[in-house]
């Protein structure tokens, strides 16, 4: 290899590579969750820049708390718990400056509002909803009040158990179930309304034509 010449003194940076070698390390596995953390942060904040901040803080906190993570337990659920704690703390900080409805109030209001849902008859809506367009579904999810949005999202999209969600949200399992339940029913009502509206509109257009 006469063509190759030496270039400069060797800087000693041995630690640099420790974390990047060896698949299956804490860091690698933690980073494998970044997409679902980011998506969930997007649903929580509904703002890409805030979502990025939240995810970045989550990884910083994970680094600082790594000693408290028990190997063998669910790393993904642990990271989601940090994400939600961070989001809650931020909401609390913001609430000091602005008056916002607390989640209990929202929950009670929703309970009253959707109490009438039970006497809805079984309709072909259930079938119709299957044709809901993706953007409409996403919009309806994003339009749910925060506590219901996160519960339904964590259960139906991110596939966490009730117990895992309860730990993340720091609420009892019963509350998790009732939030999922109400969130789903609100979503059902919103999607049904949108469907009915569209059907009426297309009928009207047909008659005009």
């Amino acid at each position: 290899m006469s063509g190759f010449t030496s270039g400069g003194a060797r800087p000693a940076v041995p630690e640099l590579m420790k974390a990047t070698t060896g698949a299956g390390s804490f860091e690698t596995e933690a980073l494998a969750c970044i997409d679902s953390l980011y998506r969930t942060a997007l649903r929580l904040t509904r703002d890409p820049a805030d979502a990025e901040d939240l995810v970045q803080d989550t990884y910083l906190k994970a680094f600082r708390a790594v000693d408290r993570f028990e190997p063998g337990t669910n790393l993904r659920a642990w990271l989601f718990t940090i994400l939600h704690n961070t989001a809650r703390n931020r909401a609390r900080d913001r609430a000091r400056d602005t008056v916002t409805a607390d989640s209990e109030t929202v929950e009670r209001a929703a309970e009253t509002a959707s109490g009438a849902g039970l006497d809805q008859p079984v309709t072909p809506e259930s079938l119709l909803l299957r044709n809901t367009l993706d953007p409409d579904l996403q919009a309806a999810v994003d339009a749910l009040p925060g506590v219901f949005r996160e519960a339904v999202w964590l259960r139906d999209v991110e596939e966490f158990s009730y117990a895992e969600i309860a730990a993340m949200l720091a609420v009892p399992v019963g509350t998790v179930m009732s939030r999922i339940s109400r969130g789903r029913r609100m979503l059902f009502d919103a999607l049904s309304r949108a469907k009915t509206l569209k059907t009426i509109q297309s009928h009207a257009r047909l008659q005009e034509a």
């Binding site: 030496s6 974390a19 990047t20 980073l31 998506r39 990884y59 910083l60 994970a62 079984v122 179930m177």
Partner: protein, 262 residues
């Protein structure tokens, strides 16, 4: 319907398939005779099934590459590198962050510099600066994307080099001669996507071969950030082989690739 209240808390676990058989039968029996509860269960079930069926599209958002790189540094080093384009965080005390920066942080920051058109211009500058950028990319590609275990065929990589870079390359026919195994190629977002990145394993450790088109520079081996970067030029292209191995080993592998790459 006296059972409705009692069954209410069972509806959601029923829909989620979390009930044991007796409770499940209880709900079934009740729903059979109670239209309101039946419709409530149907509504929940419809929404759950819809969400589950659309999981893939609901999960389409991916973390941006720059965020991924920052989080990689955060979880590995506990610092968020301050580099151009990074967001200034609200309520974040820069002094406390700076206080955490150890001497290694500068190198850590290099690891996560991503994107940016500047690399291509950097190729006009010193070999060390160019090598540092490529080492950073080498670490990022292998470390962040967990690619070491994959293996693409030579034909696939050659095809993507031809279509992405107009580079009709023949990869070394028998890389195993020197202990190399092909991992694959990635469209490198570095240097406006004009730098090709082909990845190998060498005795299980990551090796990168970068190809920079329309560039020539003198042959040399540079060590930077604990890695060795062997640089050579051929046919108005510059090649940089990056790995974390002893210099003699790098020179041996580089001269093999140099000779076997057509």
């Amino acid at each position: 319907m006296p059972d409705c209240k009692k069954l209410d808390p069972l509806v959601t676990p029923y829909v989620d398939g979390e009930l044991d058989a007796p409770s499940r039968a209880e709900v079934d029996a009740h729903a059979h005779v109670c239209p309101p509860c039946h419709s409530r269960i149907a509504a929940e079930q419809t929404v759950r099934e819809l969400l589950v069926a659309r999981r893939a599209t609901l999960q389409k958002d991916c973390a941006p590459a720059a965020l991924r790189a920052r989080c990689g540094a955060a979880v590995e080093k506990g610092v968020v590198p301050l580099f151009p384009g990074s967001r200034v965080k609200k309520g974040y005390d820069p002094f406390s962050l700076r206080a955490r920066l150890r001497p290694l942080a500068l190198a850590a920051a290099l690891v996560v510099v991503v994107g940016g058109a500047f690399l291509y211009q950097l190729t006009d500058r010193s070999a060390r600066v160019m090598a540092a950028e490529l080492v950073a990319d080498h670490i990022k590609c292998f470390g962040v994307n967990r690619l070491l275990g994959t293996s693409q065929s030579a034909a696939l990589v050659e095809g993507s080099m031809a279509s992405s870079f107009g580079w009709r390359v023949q990869l070394p026919a028998r890389p195993q001669q020197i202990g190399l195994e092909l991992v694959g190629a990635r469209p490198c977002l570095y240097g406006e996507g004009r730098i090709a990145h082909i990845m190998y394993r060498h005795n299980g450790r990551p090796v990168s071969v970068f190809m920079l088109p329309r560039t020539a520079r003198p042959d040399e081996v540079v060590d930077v950030m604990g890695h060795e970067a062997a640089i050579w030029s051929a046919g108005n292209r510059t090649f940089v082989l990056v790995a974390r191995e002893p210099r003699e080993e790098i020179q041996r592998v580089a001269s093999f690739v140099h000779a076997a790459l057509h």
